[in-house]
Structures are given as structure tokens and as C-alpha cells.
Amino acid sequence: MVAQPQSDGSKLTGFETGIHRVMLEPKADTAGCSLEIVGTRFLLKSQNPDGGWGFQPVLSSATEPTAWAIMGLEAFIGRAECRQACEKGMAWLEDCQLKDGSWPAHLGQREGCWVTSVACLALASKLDEGIAKRAEVLSKGLRWLLNDWPGEGNLWWRLLRMLEGSNLGRPRGWSWTPGTSGWIEPTAQALLAVQAAPPELYPRGTKKRIQMAQAMLLNQALASGGWNSGSSESYGYAGRQQPGPTSWALMALRSQEQGQEIAAGLEWLQQIHTSLNGFFSFSLACLCLNFWEVPYDISRLQNTFFTRISPGAVMEMGWTLLAISPPEESPLGRWRGLKS
């Protein structure tokens, strides 16, 4: 990875990069500003010269934060500076795609992983502008996703399970990295990306895969409402609900009838979101509740923003902008096939 150049021309390397942090804004500068102004200003200021975003403003560009920053800014695309930043970001994202259609987590890596879903989601959200190259990039990404099966699907694994007498009929989702087990978050993100894309770009077998992933998510819902990152039960212990996996699963299941699992998950998330003390979980929960058009505590979001000295978190800012934007006017509204 290449370290980011600093204002004095020096570069942060090794140990220094880890401890260097950029303050968001002094309190005085943000006082009285709307969330929209603070959020967009933060993302515009933290965009790297190469067009991408890092997880923190000082870090080099990575796929996941870049995709979420683009989607966050796109919710306010009416502003010229947001539009320009999105275009630059999108160019970075397109350049970062690997030959096999996948995206790596960080620029320069040679293997793709689950962030391919997030990149595809960002592309699908901007496809309205009708750029043919973008549709081709998205199409390649979708093909990779459809061919990416979790490790538990392989023949060797199935043979072993068969010998153990285990159930082979469990629906399969997506894994974090190729060849490993399916988990809730990568499955939900892949499902979001695939459903957000126009059906004419679907590779063969997409619909079946969508159904399988939906079944996997519903199958893993916890009886008490919500989702854990993995199985609903492990070694005889019931999984604990987690706000992140619950938010992703609920968003991915937006096109479903609101059955027991979804209703219980939404109720749990709405109940606990006011007590979440991490900006990551809180902004994600707000995004999910906004997507489901369920009320959430906007004042707490406001307070989180204005009282924190240094959230320094790019993805959270992107989610926040999506959370405060009317779903019909933001990328959320353009995620095709996701609204029931």
C-alpha cells in the first residue's frame, strides 16, 4: 500500500499511520450546521487525490469506504461538488476492478472478496446515467458474484457432511472471502447488490441464487428477533443479536413479505438503536430503518455527529447521509427490485 502524502509533503508510514488521526471538524465549525452539510463536507474533504476514500480520512483508498462515500454523496447529487466527487470516486472504483470482475478490499491487492457486492451496489445505484461502460463493469461484477460459492458448497465438504449424516439441504449464501463459509453480512450485501441491478444484466441462475440467499437469511433469523453474524445457534448456544448483521439482513429482505422474522428483526432494531454507543452500528441501524421507512431517532444522530470530536469514519458518514435522505430521492430509491 502506498502511504498518503501529508500536507508537509512527508508520508505516513508503518507505525505512524496507525496512530495518526484526522479530526472531523472543531465543534465550533459544525455548530448549527445541518447533518447534510456536516456529512457532505466531511466526505468531500476526506476524498483522496486518486478519487477514492480510505476507512479514515488519512488512509489510502479502499473499495468499501469508496463505494459508501459515493452512495452517501449521491443522495445529495443536486450539489455540483457532490456530483464531481461521485464521478471521481466512480472512476476510481471502475479502475480498481480486477480482470475476473471482482473487487479487492484495497487497491493493489490481487484477489477479490465480498466488497465486490458493495462496489456493484454503488454501480447499480448510478446506472441511471446510462453509461455503457458502467453497465459492462457491473455485469462483470455480477458474473463474479454469481460464480462465487461459499466453501461449504464444494464437493469435498458435502461428502464429509454426508458421512457425518449432517443436513446438506441448508441454503447457501455468500462468504467474506472465496472458498470460506457463508455469513449473514456478505450474503445480505450480495443480495442487495444483485437485486439492485437491472434484471437485464442478470447472469444465468441469478433468480435461483436470490431465492437461496433469501432462504438462508430467513433460516438464520434468531427466534428472539434479529440476526447474529453467522448461525442462529452454535455448539448448543443461541447466537446473540448484533445490530450490524440485523441491519444488513433486513435491508436485503426488503422485497419480502413482512413475515415473522422480518417483523421481529425490525422491532428489535428499533428498540435497541437508541442505546447503541458506536457510530458504526448506530448509523447503519438508522440507514436500515430509513430504508424500511420505520421511524428512528434523528435527534440522537444529530447529537452523535455534533458531540463527537473525531468520528473519522467514512462509511458511517455515507450511511448517515443515506439515512437522512428521503428514500425516493436517494440511491435507496434506485435499488431496483428491493421495494415490496
Binding site: 500500500m1 502511504a3 508510514t13 508503518g14 507505525f15 505512524e16 499511520t17 496507525g18 496512530i19 488521526r21 479530526m23 476507512f55 479514515q56 488512509l59 489510502s60 479502499a62 468499501e64 478490499a105 484495497h106 491487492q109 472478496c113 465480498w114 466453501g151 462468504s175 467474506w176 472471502t177 472458498g179 470460506t180 463459509s181 455469513w183 453480512e185 456478505p186 453474524s229 453467522g230 455448539y235 448456544y237 448484533q242 445490530p243 450490524g244 447503541l276 454507543n277 458506536g278 457510530f279 458504526f280 452500528s281 470530536i309 473525531s310 473519522g312
Partner: protein
């Protein structure tokens, strides 16, 4: 890695290791004093250097038995600063919970180490570099690792004293899973499970080579650790400059034969000392500190048994 001192050597080429077992009855004790006293037994070349403390912050911890105590992390930070370190950061990449801030806030870490922005690094989202692993125990071959770890002058592994339902015990070597960045491998870092946990531990430990280990055993976890076990108070801090020897000593304190834990046994061949006769115990004696832990169901075989039973079973 800045010239990590420890090289891969067979036991007969290594000097005797030293491990210090110290009493600390609770987290409100003078932990800086306890650690300073223990650290004086070792040559710790940190003057003017950067030190990275790697605790085990797994997730939201309602019992206080899952995560390394923030009091111990804060005391270690203070102790290394007193020893002349130029900079000491606490760094962790939680494996199960992506919201690191929520974990840190729930532990009130900032009360112990000061500003999180200056003194804490989330290894899950740090800069990364691809590193060739120094051993081939697993099929991983190479991993992306955080630059904060690779660039630190002195790395300290600071685990909690816990049982582990997949690895037997989780101590200073297993704790290194937390440096593998989630931004590349997800939450959990499932690639390490597919590579087989004991093998992945060996490959990461042989590559990162922590310079020192401080195990928080003041309150540990027994039974179905590392998440679903029950708190176990031992009132101990175990420290040393050979992480393998520290882990072996911890296992003995827990009533476990370290050579029965596959990855520790293998680590004893190249990374440090496992055998009791090669470890000089300082502070408390193991016999006085011993406090047998309830083991996870599938690891009952690790427990120490009488010599007679072992001889009968043909183990000795």
C-alpha cells in the same frame, strides 16, 4: 517488522526462557506497580522506541471475563512509557464485532489510556501490506497484515487467560488472530478457520513474533470460552519475553498439559520453550498459582492427569 529479535530456532539452541507470575488480586490494585516490578526481571529495549500493545478485545463483554481488562492495558501502557518508550499504542482488530468503537466505549477504554484517537488503532481498517508467512503449517502462505504491527519496534501480546472451544486455550499466540485485518478477511476472519485454527496460529505467530507477552489472568474464563464460558478468578498476571513459555506456564496454571495442545507443542519446536525445565519461573511458583480451569467438552483430554494414569495410557 523492524528486525524482530526472535528467530526460528530449535529448543537446544535457545537460552532458557523466563516467565514471571505475579499476584494482582483485583483490577483496582496498583497494576502499574505490579507490572513495573515484573518487567524489571527482563531486558526490555524500548527506550525511544514504538511499542504496540495487542490486547484481546473480542466483543461486548458483560461479564468482564471475555476481554483483556482495560485496566491492564492502561497499566501496561503506563509501564512501557516509564521504561522510556517513545510511543505506546493499544491496537486491536476485533474478530466478531465490526463496531470497534462500541466495544471500546462499553469498556470505557479511554478512561485508562486517554484519547482513543491518539492511543488506539483499529487493526481491522489500518493500512495493510502483504507478508509472506515464515512457516507453512497451514495453506495460507501469505496474509495482508496491518502496517501498525509490521512497523512497531516492540509488539506485546496481551491476551486474557481463557479456554477456547476450538483451540483448547487462547493465550498470547492465539491472540495474534486479532491482528489479521477484517477489512481484507471479514468478521469473523473465517479464512483462518478454514486454514485450521492451530495451523493458522503457528503461521501467524512465526511471522509476527511478539516480543513480549502479558496475560491478564486476574479474572479469566473457563468452560465454553472464548465467548460463552464463565468467569474464573485467579488473581494473576503472567509475563515474559518468550510467548510460548508464557503460554505453556499459563496452561500449567490452568491445569492443562501444554504439550497436549497441538499448536503449543509445535510452537515449542521453533518459536520458544515449552518444557518446564527450559523455563525459569520468577515470582509466584506454578504450584502456588495453580487454579484448574473447567475445560470445553471436547478438550477434557488436555487436563493434567496423574502420572500413573498417563503411564497406563502410554503417554509418558
Amino acid at each position: 517488522m523492524s528486525g524482530r529479535r526472535n528467530s526460528l530456532l530449535p529448543p537446544h539452541q535457545r537460552p532458557v526462557s523466563r516467565v514471571c507470575i505475579q499476584r494482582a488480586e483485583s483490577y483496582s490494585a496498583d497494576l502499574v506497580g505490579v507490572l513495573m516490578e515484573g518487567l524489571q526481571n527482563f531486558h526490555i529495549p524500548v527506550r525511544g522506541k514504538s511499542v504496540l500493545l495487542k490486547p484481546n478485545f473480542v466483543g461486548l463483554d458483560s461479564t468482564g471475563a471475555m476481554n483483556t481488562s482495560p485496566a491492564v492495558a492502561g497499566a501496561a501502557r503506563e509501564a512501557f512509557l516509564r521504561l522510556g518508550a517513545n510511543r505506546v499504542i493499544v491496537a486491536e482488530g476485533p474478530a466478531l464485532e465490526r463496531d470497534t468503537e462500541a466495544i471500546l466505549e462499553s469498556m470505557r477504554l479511554r478512561d485508562y489510556i486517554g484519547s482513543l484517537d491518539r492511543n488506539f488503532t483499529d487493526l481491522n481498517t489500518d493500512h495493510v501490506c502483504q507478508v509472506e508467512l515464515r512457516t507453512r503449517a497451514s495453506n495460507l502462505r501469505r496474509l495482508y497484515l496491518p502496517q501498525s504491527v509490521l512497523g512497531a519496534d516492540f509488539v506485546v501480546s496481551m491476551p486474557k487467560l481463557k479456554t477456547h472451544r476450538w483451540a483448547g486455550v487462547t493465550l498470547s499466540l492465539k491472540n495474534l488472530f486479532g491482528i489479521v485485518p477484517g477489512s481484507c478477511y471479514g468478521w469473523p476472519k473465517n479464512i483462518l478457520h478454514w486454514a485450521q485454527i492451530p495451523r493458522a496460529i503457528l503461521d501467524i505467530a512465526s511471522t509476527v513474533r511478539p516480543d513480549f507477552a502479558i496475560v491478564d489472568g486476574i479474572v479469566g474464563m473457563e468452560g465454553e470460552g472464548p465467548l460463552d464460558g464463565t468467569p474464573k478468578k485467579t488473581g494473576l498476571l503472567v509475563i515474559g519475553d518468550d510467548p510460548v513459555a508464557v503460554d505453556a506456564t499459563c496452561a500449567r496454571i490452568m491445569g492443562i498439559r501444554p504439550e497436549r495442545i497441538g499448536y503449543l507443542k509445535a510452537a515449542g519446536c521453533l518459536l520458544g520453550h515449552l518444557r518446564e525445565e527450559n523455563i525459569r519461573q520468577l515470582g509466584e511458583r506454578i504450584a502456588n498459582a495453580k487454579s484448574p480451569f473447567e475445560l470445553p467438552a471436547q478438550f477434557k483430554k488436555l487436563a493434567e492427569a496423574s502420572e500413573k494414569t498417563l503411564m497406563k495410557a502410554g503417554v509418558c
